[in-house]
């Protein structure tokens, strides 16, 4: 039998180890041999500590036990993201992992809600989201299986320590036969045309040849960028932030089941609460604030004592023109960078892995496979891009960055979305990919894009009926949320890490 193709992964970190764990467990040693090269001398970025619900599928796909993994990564649950001061100072809204209300008499909830707002009888949007109300109350439990229950209308993700997650994945991958080389890549050999990678020259282990190379080397993009000179689409005029300070601190709040993103003078600050610490960061553009001032602001605003030296990350927003180029596929930051405002980094890695497994070049490189891979991956990146731009563009804040974002030319695709939503609450449905209509709804309304009109079919049920229905929905959500356990208690009972267990014993 022919030897299976050799997949060489350049770089550890979340992207590299997710690839290694998935390929080794889903394809197995008969279908591919996997070598991962990482240097313990080179740090990983590891800002992707907040995730999207899709990560659950990934973990169960490759066979990772939830409670066990949560213990090991000091994980907490996540029901959404709170955006503070984004539209204007004093505002707060949550982008939930869940729906808003439900369709009624054949008409989507949004239209009944717009009508109700105009008529003065509907509550603010978040009262109709179970996920948001639970998040606000700092409560958590697993969603109900019964699709008729309001307790089934949400999903959840995690906050976790990304370096620990990489360790979990590494153990899993190595148990499934992945060979790990702790080494440095000194040189990348390409073929005569410079279109294919033939081998990697390592410092200690000599030359490593491969059939398929995954570039998980982060921003440096050693293979796809430096060796193959793959093109890059620059999106920094739409998303101008290019730096982030990251620093963990001690916790000063009860355990939150959501990520928080607070708008700041020249960017925004993240807050991700784990069992044992809070991850913080200030994402900013150095065109609008100097790094030292940004760091001073961040440290001054921490809720507790810093637990490590602050780290400065530098990045450029955009994506590689062709994620799969020749026999090299970029995954993670080597493939594209979108700031972690919507926790999409790990999701985008996962998407690349799913498509790679479906389109795996079992019979050698095939342009038909890479074309489809790139089509699917591009679609995901482009949609996330538009979604992120919306957060910046629709704002009523003061400050240079915010004025710039408000006045910039957005992509036509986003312009149309905003215009139709403002006109009549219309959100187009996509066959696949992020983000579904509740997500657009949350951000559009949250950023102050309030629809002027609604679908005429919302006039069918009659106002009295809608009043009663809306208030019943609101009440059902409130009553059920009241009965949920506290998030901190839930975490302690379900997946307390040794650190948390000791702290609470």
């Amino acid at each position: 039998m022919k030897t299976p193709p050799h997949v060489v992964i350049a770089g550890g970190g979340t992207a590299g180890w997710m690839c290694a764990a998935a390929l080794s467990s889903v394809l197995g040693p008969d279908l591919c041999r996997v070598t991962l090269i990482e240097s313990s001398g080179i740090g990983t970025v590891g800002v992707g500590e907040a995730t999207l619900p899709h990560i659950k599928e990934f973990n169960s796909y490759i066979g990772i036990d939830e409670a066990e993994f949560m213990k090991r990564t000091n994980a907490t649950f996540k029901l959404g993201i709170e955006f503070v001061d984004w539209n204007k100072p004093g505002d707060s809204y949550i982008h939930p992992f869940g729906t808003f209300g439900q369709a009624f008499a054949g008409t989507q909830f949004i239209h009944h809600w717009i009508k109700g707002r105009k008529g003065g009888y509907a509550a603010p949007l978040e009262a109709y989201s179970y996920a948001i109300m639970a998040a606000r109350a700092r409560r958590f439990e697993f969603p109900d299986d019964d699709p008729d229950s309001v307790r089934s209308t949400y999903a959840y993700a995690y906050h976790f320590d990304a370096s620990q997650y990489a360790a979990v994945l590494r153990a899993h991958a190595e148990a499934h036969g992945v060979r790990r080389l702790d080494d440095k890549i000194l040189d990348v050999q390409t073929d005569a045309n410079g279109g294919r990678i033939e081998s990697l020259q390592l410092e200690k282990n000599g030359v490593v040849k491969g059939d398929l190379f995954l570039d998980c080397s982060g921003f440096r993009s050693l293979l796809a960028g430096q060796a193959l000179h793959g093109g890059w689409e620059d999106w920094s005029s739409w998303l101008p932030c290019n730096h982030a300070w990251a620093v963990p601190c001690e916790s000063g709040e009860p355990l939150t089941a959501y990520t928080r993103a607070t708008a700041r003078e020249a960017g925004w600050q993240w807050r991700i609460q784990l069992q044992h610490r809070v991850g913080n960061g200030y994402v900013f553009s150095d065109a609008f604030i100097d790094p030292q001032t940004a760091l001073d602001h961040l440290l001054r605003r921490l809720e507790g004592k810093p637990m490590a030296e602050p780290k400065l990350l530098t990045f450029k927003t955009g994506r590689r023109s062709r994620a799969w180029n020749g026999n090299c596929i970029s995954v993670g930051l080597a493939s594209g960078f979108l700031e972690p405002l919507e926790s999409t980094s790990i999701y985008l890695i996962q998407v690349a892995i799913n498509h790679l497994i479906q389109l795996f070049p079992h019979a050698g490189m095939d342009a038909r496979l890479s074309a489809e891979f790139n089509r699917r991956v591009d679609l995901e990146y482009d949609r996330v891009r538009d979604f992120l731009i919306l957060h910046y563009h629709a704002n009523a804040r003061e400050g240079e960055l915010w004025a710039y974002a408000r006045n910039m030319q957005t992509p036509d695709s986003l312009k149309e979305i905003m215009e139709r939503f403002r006109r009549r609450g219309y959100v187009r449905k996509y066959r696949e990919g992020l983000f579904a209509d509740p997500s657009w709804l949350a951000i559009l309304v949250g950023q102050g894009v309030m629809p002027e009109g609604y679908d005429r079919t919302a006039d069918n049920p009659g106002e009295d009926r809608m009043r009663a229905w809306l208030s019943d929905l609101e009440r059902r959500i409130a009553v059920n949320v009241e009965a949920m356990p506290d998030h901190a208690d839930f975490v302690r009972d379900y997946c307390a890490s040794p650190i948390l267990a000791e702290a609470t014993s």
Partner: protein
């Protein structure tokens, strides 16, 4: 100058004939009449002939339910018969016919789809057609019919469509609309009055000199698109036919629960069985045969005695560049003319109505809605069209000018992407706005004889013995279920038999 663009829409005028006009009247009335919208229908003389038959796709049943049309009553009234899919005959020389059945094929094994296991098994010597793993195709093949129940859930709910006689279908739709109080006028003809700028339609002067005003106009006048104007994008380059003949034949002894598409020497014959006749739609090129020859060939191929008259006319496939232009929305053939090889025209009308309801203009400044509608409908129309083109492109009738030509035709890029990826790995790229799902594409790709050389080798993690066992179980399940089903005839007898003596 004051503007009235923000005035709400108070009245919609639906003008045209036949199915397009009355289906639109039903849907818009159900969705919007209670919101204070006035709806008036201007009905033009019918173009329908007694032998005109129309086929739907499975979602049609849901639409009828929504507009309050009882399915059994309807089938009685229109001599309707059920359909589980389409059978394609003679598309690959002497090879046996194949089915495109509405529903799924096989069940996933492990985490990989059935189709991938099937590709591997075929390369391992399996000699069972893809359609044999479809409950619907098997039922259709053995003259049976069924509707889904819980015991079939492992195979997903299979779906069914039906064939209807067009003229009585229009009568049923009309009666149903009138029951809901739709206001209507008959007119022989009309003239269009536009505003000063010459853009928006403000009213219609009917042949009896009555003047009908409206805020929004639905153009259901058929191919000529009397209100919509603007250009058609011709699809003639994607299809080998430019003429269509319609006729009726007797029913076969027991009408099958599917429509049959037969590749003739230089044309395509589509046969749609009803309770009391079989509709024949024959598409061809006028350089290849006369209308008289077209009729003769159709009769020979159908192998059923003809009844009544036949009619022939030009077939001009294509799509209106702007189906929504100003305050006019074109529906039915005014918006898009399809090849008659499959039953997509009625479905396209259905989609046009669904999108119109969800984007129904709030006021006269509706350019934003028009743009979105046009984009959605272009995706929808082209998706249906590509599915049709695929049948021509993938034929394997060698040394027949018509079919050689069809194989050599250029095809739209998205269709090429589908064929390419399927050939490469047995998967199908799917795009926004498509009506046919991956399952449908798989059915016709395998059916037309494509077999990918490579499969997702993850399937090899299931042992060959295990796969064989599971395949046998699926086939046995289907056999057992099909044996227990009533015949299509019996189904019609119980639920849908009219009196057509």
């Amino acid at each position: 100058m004051t503007s009235d663009v923000n005035k709400p829409i108070e009245k919609v005028v639906i003008v045209g004939r036949d199915i397009a006009v009355w289906l639109s009247a039903n849907v818009l009335t159900r969705a919007l009449a209670h919101t204070g919208l006035a709806i008036e229908v201007i009905e033009l003389p019918s173009y329908l002939r007694p032998h005109d038959v129309v086929g739907g796709l499975p979602p049609l049943g849901g639409l009828h339910h929504l507009i309050g049309l009882d399915e059994h009553e309807l089938l009685k009234a229109v001599s309707g018969a059920y359909s589980l899919g389409q059978r394609f005959v003679n598309f690959a020389g002497p090879r046996p016919p194949f089915f495109h059945a509405y529903g799924s094929h096989g069940a996933p094994i492990g985490k990989t789809p059935f189709s991938q296991h099937y590709i591997r098994a075929r390369h391992g010597g399996l000699n069972v057609a893809f359609e044999d793993f479809s409950l619907a195709a098997s039922a259709a093949k053995y003259g049976r019919f069924f509707t889904s129940d819980a015991t079939l859930s492992a195979f997903h709910p299979s779906q069914y469509a039906y064939h209807l006689k067009a003229a009585p279908y229009v009568r049923s739709l009309k009666a149903n609309a009138l029951k809901q109080g739709v206001k209507f006028t008959q007119a022989r003809d009309f003239a269009v009055r536009r505003d000063h700028e010459g853009g928006r339609v403000v009213g219609l002067t009917l042949s009896d000199n009555r003047y009908v005003e409206g805020d929004v106009f639905i153009d259901a006048t058929g191919e000529e698109g009397r209100l919509i104007g603007g250009g058609m994008e011709s699809w003639a380059g994607w299809f080998p036919d430019n003429r269509v003949l319609t006729a009726a034949a007797e029913t076969s002894a027991s009408p099958p629960a599917y429509s049959q598409v037969v590749a003739l020497q230089g044309s395509v014959l589509h046969m749609l069985p009803l309770q009391d006749m079989t509709g024949l739609i024959h598409a061809y090129h006028d350089e290849d045969m006369s209308d008289q020859q077209a009729l003769e060939f159709a009769a020979v191929a159908a192998n059923l005695p003809l009844k009544g008259q036949a009619t022939a006319g030009a077939l001009k496939v294509g799509r209106r560049r702007k189906a929504w232009d100003g305050n006019v929305i074109a529906l039915g053939e005014a918006a898009c003319v399809f090849n008659p090889i499959s039953n997509v025209a009625l479905h396209a009308l259905h989609l046009g109505l669904v999108h119109l309801v969800s984007l129904f203009p709030l006021d006269k400044a509706c350019e934003s809605e028009a743009q979105e509608y046009n984009r959605l409908m272009q995706e929808a129309y082209e998706g249906l069209r590509d599915f049709q083109i695929c049948h021509f492109k993938l034929n394997r009738n060698l040394d027949q000018t018509y079919w050689d030509g069809a194989r050599a035709m250029p095809i739209p890029e998205r269709l090429q992407q589908k064929i390419d990826l399927f050939s490469a790995c047995g998967r199908v790229p799917m795009f926004d706005g498509e009506s046919f799902e991956e399952e449908d594409w798989l059915a016709i790709f395998f059916g037309h004889g494509l077999l990918p050389q490579v499969w997702d080798r993850v399937v090899e993690r299931t042992s060959q013995d295990e796969v064989i066992t599971q395949f046998r179980q699926m086939l046995a399940f289907i056999r057992e279920k099909v044996e227990g089903m009533a015949s299509h005839e019996a189904f019609i007898e119980i639920y849908a038999a009219g009196n057509f003596a």
